[in-house]
């Protein structure tokens, strides 16, 4: 894998609410990126906290930051400290569970399980890797490695002939330019996952058009914050 190119504002930044860039700002970003991936309204979120997140989340405000993120707040939002109360007012159920997500996981890892208004469960796992930077490592059972810095499409699909061409054709029709694309095997042998980094933000129309392609099982978008 290519070395990640950090910019100067990855280092001098983010401008954020304290006290911890990895436990507060990174947590808020994880929450907000996850909310974006889910893309629909939800009734509740369960947070499975791993490693250092599990040990120290209360003292670092990780709980408030994660909830602020799923409510759509940025890491620099002065309301971040009131996020738990705000979730309660909105009637969104929140639960924190200390969990062992596996020894290979980064110490600051959380699995978010959203219960959508449609009654579906969507789970997303990500890590806060320092300085407020994050990486999303799993979306609904599919391993990925997404920083949330670039607009990215995740398309889980059946292994059908010509399906890659059909998906990229839809992108072309929606005026989306592909930057980087890779196709990975899924845990299921008849399925694969396309990870497509694109140049512009991904709207709901694009997601709808792709989900209509025959053989597509799941489509998710990550738009940078």
């Amino acid at each position: 894998m290519a070395i990640k190119q950090y910019g100067i504002f990855d280092i001098l930044g983010p401008i954020m609410i304290g006290p911890s860039s990895s436990h507060t700002a990174g947590a808020a970003r994880l929450g907000k990126v996850a909310k974006g991936i889910v893309g629909v309204d939800f009734d509740s979120v369960k947070f499975y906290l791993h490693g250092s997140f599990a040990k120290t989340y209360k003292g670092h405000g990780t709980d408030r930051a994660l909830v602020a993120g799923v409510l759509g707040m940025d890491p620099g939002d002065e309301n971040l400290r009131h996020a738990l109360e705000m979730a309660e007012e909105k009637g969104i159920g929140i639960e924190f569970i200390e969990a062992d997500l596996g020894s290979y996981q980064h110490p600051n890892t959380v699995k978010l399980v959203f219960e959508t208004k449609g009654g579906r469960e969507v789970d997303i796992t990500g890590s806060s890797i320092g300085g407020g930077s994050i990486v999303i490592t799993n979306i609904e059972g599919t391993d990925v490695s997404l920083t949330g810095n670039r607009p990215t499409l995740v398309v889980k699909h059946k292994k059908l002939e010509g399906i890659v061409t059909k998906v990229t054709k839809v992108l072309g029709e929606d005026d989306i330019t592909v930057d980087i694309m890779k196709v990975e095997r899924s845990t299921h042998r008849d399925e694969a996952v396309m990870i497509i980094e694109v140049e512009s933000n991904i709207g709901s129309n694009v997601l709808r058009d792709i989900s209509e392609v025959e053989g597509v099982i799941l489509t998710r978008a990550i738009n940078p914050l």
Binding site: I3, K4, Q5, Y6, G7, I8, F9, D10, I11, L12, G13, P14, I15, M16, I17, G18, P19, S20, S21, S22, H23, T24, A25, G51, S52, K55, T56, K58, G59, H60, G61, G76, E78, L80, R81, P107, N108, I129, G130, G131, G132
Partner: protein
């Protein structure tokens, strides 16, 4: 594009440029933004830094966990009145670093530099150096660019996360960044900037991350104060011509290796170091019940 310190240095020397110019050129190439946009955005970040460095200087800002608050004010007053051994410039920098940390621990607004736990060192030293050197806005931005460049190298090749590398990765990286930036602000050479950064990292190599009760409060705030002083002394040593025996990139590598070999208990888990002392455990109980 540089990835290592020696590459940054080669680019500067071969083109007869300052480190800040090379870092700026890299950012332009990376983001497509203009030099003016980047410099202005950096200065906006500096405004947030300055605000957090000032906020707790004349009033007590209490932390959420209740362990710290009021020390910035104490040290600020002392720096003005007492005949301190360190002198007023160093004491003022220490007070400002405490101020940033106290604001951070109160869930106030700060600029991570490179992290929130270490957010006092770059603001405290760059503002204090700017005053001491009577530096203009552009010189301050140049200093911040160099600091960011050093931070980019450390994050790319090692880590700036306390959970991964201990406090040396946070307050150590911050001090190294600040020192390299202050060297350029003072008119030192590119080599001197890297010497200062190397000296800083070596001075605190192995420093563990052991926050009492898991809060980014103590000993974090005081380590920001000492990190600011570490940066200033390293700057002056480098400007005086002192060289690091081990080159910068190797020091960064060593810091990373040391960080990885630190036990889990000493990497931000609040299970070791002063967090695991009798008093540390009592405080944990008091805070979380």
């Amino acid at each position: 594009m540089f990835r290592f310190g020696y590459e940054l240095l080669e680019l500067a020397n071969s083109q007869n440029k300052k480190l800040s110019e090379i870092v700026l050129e890299r950012e332009i190439e990376l983001t497509g933004a203009s030099a003016e946009e980047i410099r202005e955005r950096l200065y906006q970040s500096f405004e947030v830094m300055k605000a957090s460095a000032n906020e707790a200087m004349n009033k007590e800002v209490k932390s959420v966990g209740g362990l710290i608050g009021g020390d910035a004010q104490r040290v600020n007053q002392y720096s003005q009145n007492a005949n301190s051994l360190c002198g007023s410039t160093v004491m003022l920098a220490a007070a400002r670093a405490l101020s940033c940390s106290e604001v951070n621990a109160s869930m106030g607004r700060i600029c991570a530099a490179p992290t929130a736990g270490s957010c006092g060192i770059v603001p405290a030293t760059i503002t204090t150096a700017a005053e001491a050197l009577n530096a203009d806005k552009e010189t301050v931005i140049d200093g911040l660019l160099v600091a960011a460049g050093i931070g980019v190298i450390i994050q790319t090749n090692a880590t700036v996360s306390g959970a991964e590398g201990g406090c040396q990765a946070e307050c150590g990286a911050a001090a190294a960044m600040a020192a390299a930036g202050m060297v350029e602000m003072s008119g030192g050479t590119p080599e001197m900037s890297l010497e200062a950064a190397s000296i800083c990292l070596k001075n605190i190599m192995g420093l563990v991350c052991d926050p009492i009760a898991g809060l980014v409060e103590a000993p974090c705030a005081k380590r920001n104060a000492s990190g600011a002083v570490n940066a200033m002394i390293s700057t002056d040593l480098a400007l005086a011509g002192v060289k690091s025996i081990i080159p910068f990139d190797e020091v960064v590598e060593a810091m990373y290796e040391v960080g990885k070999s630190l036990p889990f208990e000493l990497r931000e888990t609040a299970l070791g170091g002063v967090a695991a002392t009798k008093t540390g455990k009592e405080i944990m109980k008091r805070v979380f019940g």
